[in-house]
């Protein structure tokens, strides 16, 4: 009985997207806007196919994902360590916490001009934007997770004889793991925003570059196609990779029921 409404919801969602696509096609058929400004789903698909056939698509996806892997890896490392110190020291938390909260209000694209000034057109500038976009979210989530560890884990760790120096690695970080994963998931999304924004301006390969190229060619179907692709890859990694890991951890930590 419990599974049924869940499955029905999935059908509704599927139906919604089909309807959306049909609506798009229908609107296109009305011919209100010229097709070079508002292409049909078929035209967008065709353009993506051509890009793929020309060997432009895959290297761009690969380039953006590689930049993310490197930039985000560095960012996660820094964010975790800084977050650990924030979580264990009230003064550090007060100072850096407010700074990071402030930085988080900055749109990720706003890091692009300063990265151009600092790094010119080199790839390091893209890494810089990725790191600056995501590091604050990861650090804040880590420190928040540590500050909200159920006290029973800390007490159990201590009474079982864990020496003070071993607490961070053996008890504190593992106990804070669910919020750390949530922070990493959020950081990934922000880093993804940052990566594509940076590529718009300063790159000769990557999803952002293809977007910009589409605009320069006045090719709306390329712009829309790359936008859809960016959403797709962002979603794929966010929901399916990090989302699944997050859920499994939350179930294991007893924060969520498996149903």
């Amino acid at each position: 009985m419990k599974r049924n409404p869940e499955r029905r919801l999935k059908y509704y969602v599927l139906g919604f997207y089909l309807l959306l696509l049909a609506g798009w096609q229908l609107f296109f058929g009305l011919n209100l806007i010229p097709d070079y400004l508002f292409p049909s789903p078929a035209l967008v698909g065709e353009r993506l196919w051509d890009l793929g056939a020309d060997g432009l698509l895959w290297p761009s996806i690969e380039a953006t994902l590689t930049r993310m892997a490197i930039g985000f890896g560095i960012s996660a490392g820094i964010g975790l360590v800084v977050g650990l110190f924030m979580g264990m020291n009230r003064i550090i938390n007060g100072c850096l916490g407010s700074l990071f909260l402030g930085l988080q209000t900055l749109p990720t694209a706003a890091w692009v001009p300063i990265s151009l000034l600092l790094f010119g057109l080199s790839d390091r500038g893209v890494y810089f934007v990725i790191i600056m976009s995501s590091v604050a979210a990861i650090a804040i989530a880590t420190s928040h997770g540590i500050l909200h560890i159920p006290p029973m884990y800390l007490r159990a760790g201590r009474t079982l004889g864990t020496p003070r120096y071993a607490m961070p690695l053996r008890v504190i970080l593992p106990a804070a793991f669910p919020s750390i994963v949530t922070g990493i998931k959020l950081g990934w999304t922000l880093g993804w925003h940052g990566a594509v924004s940076a590529e718009l301006i300063k790159s000769s390969v990557g999803l952002g570059y293809l977007l910009q190229m589409g605009r320069e060619l006045n090719d709306a179907s390329q712009v829309l196609g790359i936008m859809l692709l960016t959403i797709l890859f962002g979603l794929l990694l966010d929901r399916f990779l990090f989302g699944l890991v997050e859920r499994r951890i939350r179930i294991r930590w007893g924060l969520e029921q498996n149903n």
């Binding site: 029973m152 884990y153 007490r155 159990a156 201590r158 009474t159 079982l160 004889g161 864990t162 020496p163 071993a166 008890v171 593992p174 106990a175 793991f177 179930i251 294991r252 930590w253 007893g254």
Partner: protein, 278 residues
Amino acid sequence: MDALPVSKVAAERSGPGLVKLQLRGVTKNFESKAQPVQALQAIDLQINEGECVVLFGPSGCGKSTLLNLIAGFETLTAGEIRLDGQPVRNEPGSDRLMLFQEHALFPWLNVLDNVMYGLRWQRPYRFRLRARRRKAMDLLRMVHLEEFARSAVHELSGGMKQRVALARALAPDPQLLLIDEPFPALDALVRAKLYIELQEILVRTRKTILAVTHDPREAACLGDRVIVFTGRPGRIKAELKVDLPRPRDINQREVAEHASRINSQLESEHETEPGATT
């Protein structure tokens, strides 16, 4: 704090390891803005080796505070706590290990790794993974959960979790086992079984135990001696011996009789809520 005559302490130690835990004048005040609150007032208590003593009293009477002081989670305002004749370190440790109301098992470790956890910090086991594993498996066998060694904590039932927590607490071979409200979140049937299992393990391992409860039946079921506590400030009101053979069933008539005897000690006090626990 250390103003005790040395000869007296030495005299108590000269018995063949009889006195395990010795509290003298243990006092705890909590600082608050208005005025300091006295949680415990000059507690004197002695627990012998292999004895199971239960602190019984209404909630908020300071009995849990006393347990926290002994475990090293709180610092004394005055008085002294000695374990095996030595003043205890002002720091928690596995020599006086606390078993919590919530099982507090680590979800990032599986059942076996949870039981092994405390052994890691013990000198003879420090770098000996295999010895740790062997000891942990022995303990899991004792609580009849050896086939769940590789399970994740969330896959176990509430009663099983408590048994794993007990195995984990026994692993570092604590001098003193402190139990804060045994098995509160379980249903009555599972609890009744666990009480018997706990007693069997106690008899077998000859552990010295100090437990805290507000349930008179639980006190009568588990305790060799029951210390009745009253609150504001927390102090010892009475002490009763429970001379029943073990393992005792919590539903046994004799246990119920002892329970009402224990409870009447509290009810003679004017301010207790009538019929709170009987």
